[in-house]
Each structure stands twice: as C-alpha cells, then as structure tokens.
C-alpha cells in the first residue's frame, strides 16, 4: 500500500498532540460495513471555527480503503469518488470557492477567514454518483493533527475548504478542496450499531 507519510514529523512518537476527545474509536478499532470487515488505520483531526471532528482512515478486507467521518455524534462511511464528473457538477464544484494557501506554521488557528468561501452555494444541489446532493455546509478547515496511516500528507495546519453534502435518504458526500487538489467523497450516514464495532476505546463512566 502506498501511503504518503510526510506527516507532522515532530509528532512521531508522541501521540498526545491530537486534541483530546471522548471518541469511542481508535486506531485498531474494527467494524463491518456492508458485510465487509474494516480496520481503522489512521486519523486526521480537523478543526474549524466551531470545533473539531475526526476523519478515520480505514482499510477494508476486500482491499478498498475509505473513511469514517465522526462529527457531532454522527458517523458517515465514505469513499473517495474518482470517476469523471459531469460538466454541470464540475462547474458547481469549481464555484464552491478555494481555501487559503497552506500555512503549516500556523498550528492553532482560532477563527478561519471565510472570504473565499462561496456561501451562496449553500442549499444548492450537486449531482454526484447519479444522486442528488444538497450543499448543507461550507467551511474553512485546518488539520489539527494526525496519526497512523493516511493516503495523503496531512500536516498540522493544512488548510482546506470543506463542503458537506446530504442526500435525501441519508447519503453523504463531501468535497475537500486544498490549494492543489479537489477530492470528492461519497458514502452514507450510519448509526453506531450499524457498524458492529469491536476493539473500541474504553471511556470513563461509560
């Protein structure tokens, strides 16, 4: 497996750099999605002006890799969508905006400027993977730290424009725009019991 690993070099060996949370997940946690077992192998902690969330990188036993997004008590299993976009979608994605230039020195950005985010795109619809998605959130984000294996470099301070999309049956999509790449993810929201988790982290009083 080819994995980009120019992660936060200083962080290697001292895992406590990630902001603490009460996530029941950890690297090594296992779940089952659509009948296939998967393992969490990496994590990015993403921050924005109103908090943080976890993007867990996972590998499935059928060889595909994907993500489990864990935000505000919701879980979404999703996979990078690599097929060509239809012209209309391509145009809509381009119109979403751009993040600020990467600035890895800024480790604790509090409030991120949103000047380049096209707030007008909120509520608009984008067709992806033959499904209709509604743009429900656009925000400037910053990587607050990462651990384990990830498919690309996610140094602390990496900035992206992150767009959340929602289908009307619980379909999930996200568009992540950094200064060079636009990545699209498609998947669906799931409830905790749906993934049959094992090897979860122990939590005080729970």
């Amino acid at each position: 497996m080819i994995v980009r690993r120019d992660v936060d070099v200083e962080a290697i060996g001292k895992m406590a750099t990630l902001p603490e949370d009460m996530s029941p997940l950890m690297i090594g946690s296992q779940g089952v999605y659509q009948g296939i077992r998967f393992h969490l192998i990496g994590r990015m902690k993403i921050g924005w002006k109103d908090g943080t969330w976890n993007e867990w990188y996972m590998t499935m036993e059928n060889g595909t890799n994907g993500w489990v997004a864990e935000a505000q008590g919701f879980y979404a299993v999703n996979f990078e969508y690599k097929q060509a976009l239809i012209a209309e979608t391509e145009k809509a994605v381009k119109a979403l905006g751009k993040p600020l230039l990467i600035d890895t020195s800024d480790n604790t950005p509090m409030y991120l400027p949103e000047s380049k985010v096209n707030k007008k795109a909120l509520g608009s619809y984008i067709f992806l993977d033959r499904q209709k998605f509604k743009v429900v959130d656009l925000k400037e984000t910053v990587c607050r730290g990462s651990e384990g294996e990830l498919p690309y470099a996610a140094p602390t301070g990496r900035r992206t424009l992150s767009v959340d999309l929602l289908g009307h049956k619980g379909e999930f999509a996200a568009i992540e725009i950094d200064h060079v790449t636009t990545r699209i993810y498609v998947g669906r929201y799931v409830d905790w019991p749906d993934l049959h988790w094992q090897q979860v982290r122990s939590l005080e009083n729970w």
Binding site: G51, K134, E149
Partner: protein
Amino acid sequence: MADFTLIPKDDDNPVPQPHMIKKGNPKSFSCPNCAGTVKVEALGLSITAICQFCSSVIDIANENYKILKTAHEKTRPTLLNIGNKGRLQGLMWEVIGYMEKTDFSEIYRWDEYLLYNPYHGFRFLVQSQGHWSIYKLLKQSIQEQGIALQIRVNNQKYTRFMNGKTLVAYVKGEFYWRVRKGEETVVTDYIAPPYQLSITKNDDEITAALGEYLDAKAVAKAFKVEGKMPYKTGVAPNQPGSYTGAEVGKLWLTTLSAFAIATLIQFAYLFSADNKYIYSNHWNIPVQNRNQTIATEPFELPKRSNMLITGSSADLRNDWVELDITVLNDNNEEVRQFKQPIEYYFGSDYDGTWSEGNNFSDTLLSSLPKGNYRLLIDTDAGAFQKNQPLQLAVKIKRDVINWSNYGFTLLLLLIYPCYAGIRFLMFEKLRWSESDYTDKFWS
C-alpha cells in the same frame, strides 16, 4: 514536495498500539471568571460550556478557553440535572445541557435537555406542558415544502401542524454548538403521532429533527425524578391517542363486514324459516272461572326452533289482561314461565286522538327442543273486576323470523366503533385546537 513513501509495517510506523491509547476521560477546567470547576463530558464535541457556579458562557472550541459572556448568577434548578443519567429507548443517556425555550409571545415555555452518549451521539429530550418527546437530528436533506400541508419522509406522511419563531431563554451545561440566550430560530412542526418532524431554520442552515412521544412515567423512572413531574395539560401535537385514524377506519370497515355477514345470515334465515302455526285456540272465560288454570291440549314442535306465543283479546277496549303462561315440555318436563300483559288504551284530548298498547301481545321463546308441549295459562283481567267474561285467543307459531336478534346484533356491533370514533374525534379536536392549521383537520 511530493514525497511518497512505502510504509513498512514496522516499529517506525507512528501507529499507536492499543495499549498506548489513553482511556477517554471527561475533562475539567477552572472557570476563567470564577475559578469554579467546569466539567466537559462530550469532550471534543462540546464547544460551549456554561459555568455551573457563575453562569458565564465559555468558548471551549479550542484549548485557550475564553469567556464569551461573563455572568454572576446562580444556576437555575431544573427537573433533570446536568449529569443525570437515564435509559430511554434502550440507550443510556447523560443530561449535559439544558435550554429553556419560549415562543415569541413568551407565553409558552418548554424545556429542552441535551442528552449525550459517546457512542450514539446526541438527542434532545423535550418537555412541554407535561408532555415528553425525544428528538434525533436527521442526516437527510429535507425538501423544503413551502406551504405544503403534508410532507413525506422515509415513507411516513407528516401533516403540517405549526410554524413559529422560538427563542432561547436560558441555558446551562455544555453544547456542541455556540448556544446563546436570545437565539432565534424558525421552526415548522409536522406530525404523524407519535412522531413529530421539526424543521428548524436559522441563518443558513436547515435541520430536521425526528421526535417520538414518550410516556412521562418512563422519563421519571429513567432519570429517577424524585419530585413531581410537570402537570400534563391538553393534547400534545404528537401524542398518540387511544385510537389512530387508521385504526378507527379499520374498525368501521370490520364493523361493516360484520354487518354484511349478519345480514347474509338473516337473509338465509328468512328463506329457510318455516314460520308455521302449530297451535291456535280461543276461550270465553266467565268470571267464576277466573282462578282456573287453562291447560291446552298438547301440540308438537317437530324440530328445535323458536316459538312465538301470541295472546289476544279481540274485544279489549281501554282495559288490561295479564296472562301467566307456563310452557311445559311433556317429554322432559322442562318448563318456561313468563308473564304476558296485554293492554290497550285509547282516547282523545286537546292534541287529538291517542292510543297505547294493543289488543294482543307476543312473547318469543328462543331455541326450544323438539317435542310435545302444552301451555298452562292463568289469567287475570280488568274484565273480571267488571264482572265480565274474558275473550282470550292464543296462537303459537314456530320457527319465526326474528328481526329483533338481527337488530340487536347490529346495535351491539355499533357500540365499540362508535365509542372509538367519538374518542378519536374528541382527541383529534383537542390536538388540532393548538394548531395553526385547525381548519385543515375539520375540512
């Protein structure tokens, strides 16, 4: 700067091993305002915390906790306390936040508790006028309906109930969003009892929450509420009634089917009933024989059937007769005894002519076994008191068509669906009396 590396599965790999992973712990910090201890349960999720000692609102979205609003107020007591845990709908929840909300008139006030479970996320436990519901946010894009009165989500049809602005009047605890007193939202409620779909709009976000009505006792038990639960008034928008519209509809359909079956049976009976006289006689009873029992000659009931006994007095005018009849089965000595009064009065007054009763009366004996029978008749009559003889005739018909059983069956069948229908309508009337769209229900 592209620097792709093949990651070997070796010790160099910064993958934390399970033993290295710290147990998840709630965190405490000192309030920057009053130095009291502020606990954060939903660590990593909560971004606003309210100090339980001085009520200051603290931004905890990142590590340098900042006071958003200084306060020096004591925390208000609430029915459920921050930190209370209880099991609802099969899951354990911890109360981590509380909001008091009001409508714009500030007449209606209700409680919203934020519930947390690190595995299952968040729920909202809402108490309004003694009624409780639990809500979960839906991660689904809901088609905006404009003024549509009905909306379909996940194959459930919801009817629009109310639309209005809400205000946050008071907060305590911790929240995963920037909660603030005075925050306004526009909420549209749709109902499909026991469910309620609340669509909330603020600034640039539309969220839908799906609520389910809870039994207040279940809430009290789950959170071990010691004090009194809020008094229940009215009918909540999503309160399930004893009967749903579908149930009442089904009930009536069943009743109509039963009507049809009863009617079919009655018709079958109509065509198969023999309806034959098996005995007929008449007597002229002189006054001196008034105390003698009349015994009829035996007559035969050829098969098990009912028996209609008609007593009549042809010349009865503004007078009465009372027959005391014993039906005697000669084969098994079984008897049936009954009184059969015959009364016939008529006359005229200012309103015109009137009459009451008749010069005959019937008694239907149901399901008598086949065999030979006799009647024993004791008589008393107004005529005897006037020293007049009594004209009496008795006719007996077997296997007669009984309409009263049929009518009685229909009546019995109607009782329950009528009761259910009325209960349903009264309940729905109460429910919709609180709605912005009351006309809708009654049109």
